[in-house]
Symmetry: C2
């Protein structure tokens, strides 16, 4: 069994200081050893028809589903989840085992000399 991802798409409430939420999440995740990696991003194309109003993506990677469960039920995650849920207008959460259909290649070799 490979990696498992916990993915959240979020639309924040208008008055929310998103930077504060991001700082809190980064701090929490950096201190939780069962979180293998964490990346996030903000939509840049702003096509409402496609984004449905969602603006941010948060993606946590775990080495196993046990680590995901351990994180989700951890006291500190639950505490942060309360703050997080109060800050959002809507959210979609998907948890899935990662299927790598096209792996990233290593950095390309320099072109061969002619």
């Amino acid at each position: 069994m490979g990696e498992v991802k916990h993915l959240c798409l979020v639309k924040f409430k208008e008055e929310v200081l998103v930077d504060d939420i991001l700082q809190g999440m980064t701090k929490l995740v950096s201190e939780m050893d069962m979180v293998k990696s964490f990346e996030w991003g903000k939509d840049v194309l702003n096509q409402e028809m496609l984004t449905q109003g969602f603006t941010h993506v948060f993606s946590l990677t775990f080495a196993s589903s046990e680590d995901l469960t351990s994180y989700m039920s951890h006291e500190r995650h639950l505490e942060f989840a309360g703050t997080f849920m109060a800050a959002i207008d809507k959210v979609v959460v998907i948890d899935f085992p990662v299927v790598i259909a096209k792996p990233a290649s290593p950095a390309p070799a320099p072109p061969a000399a002619a």
Copy 2:
């Protein structure tokens, strides 16, 4: 500027053969050099309140926003997009520069001998 991701959350129509769509997408992406990597997954927790009915995630990674633009406007992508859009009940698409807030560590070293 780092990597850019093109993320789709999807709910397929009931009668759709998802495996066929997945095969088509994997084939397309494997043949498009500007797609750096492609991973997908199917939600396993099935909590309708959280997933809003979305079941699948598709995540394409590009080395740059230029590569994303090149992919999105490519004839073969547009052709596949027609098939894809006909197969889905709903979709959310987010395009974002990736911010790595907690990088994955290298594989841990074996424990030191006592």
